[in-house]
Symmetry: D2
Subunit: 285 residues, 4 copies
């Protein structure tokens, strides 16, 4: 190994078939790479093979890619090669609730969340000072009707392209994105649902949880699809509650679970640990 060692993360998906690991590890050997982390999974449901590798190698990216390309072609692989620790360009949409945004901002500054936030968009101005305290520009885009929403989504499309946004996070963003937008960015939008899924849907799940007297409340981070609250689940957490917890206290408890769950999902995504297998996610944590 020579001087300028780079740490790569390689993810790949293809139809399950014998010899994949041998072929891909051959390409890595040929690139003088050393595998430092490896996870794989074969889905019985879809017959697909999933792999995530971390590789230390001193060769330039093109050289590495040249070794992978023929293998990927032979096995019909979808694949991506990235640098470990690169901060993924992430666009965060918010409304008024601060807890999820605060958690993400704090952790990315603390070096625990490999994302770069070029901007935060809010349909209300409430979280402007919080974003700016962490040095992130904040833009208010109020939405009061369908026309606003279409204009906002068109602006978003432009911005995503121009700024090279790789991930969109709905951090308690209380607007519903259009079906077209959700489809266009499928697998790139993560939402935090303030309930354990399957669970209470629609408005005010904490009131429903209280009425039903549940003993645990939870939150679910999931990919957004056109079917509201039904995209592939990335992470879930629950916390115990008691009969004496008021609706207000449930909301407060719930917010902790929400921010923890969303940040975890974003971290996994940014580290390329989340792969899609139909309606399910593979998490190589």
């Amino acid at each position: 190994m020579t001087t300028a060692n780079t740490h790569w993360v390689l993810t790949l998906v293809c139809k399950d078939q014998p010899g994949i690991v041998h072929a891909i590890s051959g390409a890595i050997v040929a690139a003088n790479g050393n595998i430092t982390e490896s996870s794989q999974f074969t889905s019985d449901d879809t017959g697909r093979f999933f792999m995530r590798l971390q590789i230390e190698s001193a060769v330039p990216r093109e050289h590495f890619v040249n070794q992978i390309l023929p293998v990927a072609e032979r096995y019909g692989m979808t694949w991506e090669l990235d640098e470990v620790g690169r901060r993924m360009k992430t666009l965060v949409l918010v409304s008024k609730s601060a807890h999820c945004l605060n958690d993400m901002l704090f952790r990315q500054r603390a070096g625990q969340l490999p994302v770069e936030l070029p901007v935060v968009f809010g349909n209300h101005p409430d979280l402007q000072s919080l974003a700016e305290f962490y040095g992130v520009p904040f833009e208010v885009h109020p939405i009061t009707g369908e026309a606003d929403k279409l204009a906002f989504e068109n602006m978003l499309r432009d911005y995503i392209k121009t700024a090279g946004i790789e991930l969109i996070v709905l951090a308690r963003y209380m607007q519903i994105l259009s079906e077209e937008f959700c489809k266009e960015f499928e697998g790139k939008i993560i939402n935090i649902h303030h309930s354990f899924l399957p669970g209470f849907k629609g408005a005010n799940p904490y009131a429903q949880a209280h009425a039903r007297g549940v003993k645990l409340i939870g939150a679910t981070a999931h990919f957004v699809t056109a079917d509201l609250d039904e995209g592939p689940i990335i992470e879930q957490n629950v916390v115990r509650v008691e009969h004496s917890d008021s609706k207000k206290r449930l909301v407060s408890i719930g917010q902790d679970v929400e921010s923890k769950t969303l940040t975890q999902a974003v971290r996994w995504f940014a580290e390329r640990r989340v792969l899609l297998d139909g309606e399910r996610t593979i998490i190589f944590s």
Copy 2:
């Protein structure tokens, strides 16, 4: 205090109003009682007041009751006085799955579950030897049609009355009890639902959980009402699962959660820690 001290548990429910605690504690003082444990709760939803007390006292039961009666009348209380640690007469219904029954039998023998099981009824013979190993008689009551079910329920009614059964536990009993039976014994039948409620309903929740790719699976112990899977929740637990867990493994993981959750609910009920507040339960744990 004299020699033969008894440890009592007193539970009471009434409309919330000033002076309840003072009145009831006055009755206890008059009976030379000492409060060793006390829990109370006022429900904002129903305006009802709930209390559970443990009291050491050397006076005979009648004497104690004589002190409580006028207070209970004045405040319109529903109340019960029992001995701490008395084993509650419990009827367990099972089918083929052993895990819940095994957990209950093991714990009642170990002195951790204050129930007395005069018999176990199964619609299959599979669990006979397990029950008998713990010295509990087992009766097989196969059910192959509506006629069988009605006859079985009539027999149950007789048995419950004759044997003085105070609690009926459905320990993975795969038959649905009739609406009439459920109504007749409302608040006396505990079921274990092999899912986190609200959640996957109907058959095979573990297959549904797998298909949906959930990251946590759970179980819910609840009172049985005429509305299947919808009675007041007593206890819930979840456990983390991964994309690589097969359906078979989910079932195995789920069984642990089921037996733990059911036994906990039965223990609380037998210790008179579960009170009903409309659709919710108050748990004085």
Copy 3:
């Protein structure tokens, strides 16, 4: 009940003896109070009786106190009467780590932590902008020797008295307070220990945890006594770790547990839910 209803929290401790509840509830009835929350505990270890009550009442404080005083005298009670929700004056000491301070500041602003922070003192300037973003003045008090420490503690004593500080929180404050200071404010200083107690003591517990290959790491919030890391425990949490988690990742995971645990302990203290029973704490959560 008249117009200006106040919500009181009453805590009391005395030798266990019959009639306490009746006597205190009598005082509450005489003050036209209505008990909305009540917890009690009798310690087998020390024979002491602990009680915490929340009471709604429209009478002025003096009137209330006049009812309680003779009861308190008769039973030899130590007691305190406060208003529910009053923000407790809290002094936070920090060094360089932001996670605990950030969590406390965020939650007190969100209305989830009833404390008022008149100032934050740090022995380093690193957290100045964070405190000031939340509108809390920050003072740097560097400590490089014993003389600095004594001067600082003397200044603290003055400040605590002048400002009416009720609680001191060591939010990852890396200086050791003197034995005298700890004794003087016993039961008023809460520290977060970055390990599960009993556990790894001394420096760098995460490195020790890694070396030992533990499967769970934790944090402990405890009262500070002259005996370092050995005061009564208020709250503990753990989180699962894996063989593949690096020391750096353990630190990051541990910080979440630390801030969550410390904030919980502070919340309980500020709500007067923490009572001391010798070396143990009673938590009326």
Copy 4:
């Protein structure tokens, strides 16, 4: 692939070096094997590489071994090849407490724990009927002095050899095995420690936990070494307790954690998911 497909589990350990995965996957391809599960880890502490693979292959064992041998030799690997699901021959030692033995017996019968128990040895007769209910012979070996212990250990040595015992489980066995015995079977003996390690050591940790007022109690399954309670940790769990939990209740709560933790450790070992890395364990769960 032909008819008689076998599912193999291959574990291997060697010095970390480039090309390992390519070489071993080449051997698998040459044996017409298909990798269905794969985990690997490189230890920064010891510089060793650990791998566990599950492989479906129709070739006979010798053929498979012939492919692996030259690779293993080239890279200096320690390795084992076993059949997935084969029941590992396990010897259980007990005293009087039933909870751990009951859990293991129940689960191995339920098909959730791939062990075969040819016998259970107890130094007391208390658990004889439990073992025999599950069809496992039970032998009483009372130990009242050093001579007894030596004789018992010599008998054990013979039995382990004759019966082909692969794992020894101390399921709350209250005797201390000799240093020689522990060394001889290092990495083959699993003990359940009734405390969270590092934690309360020596006798009666639950009483210590109570005295110290901890808010969580736990259990640790670990390999037995000559240094009592200090072998590599395999699994740990904790559960929340409260100030009102008596010592008796702590014991009962603790027993649940103990049996769950021990059974989990035994399952991982029997599935060859536990590898040793100095003082730490690698768990490929």
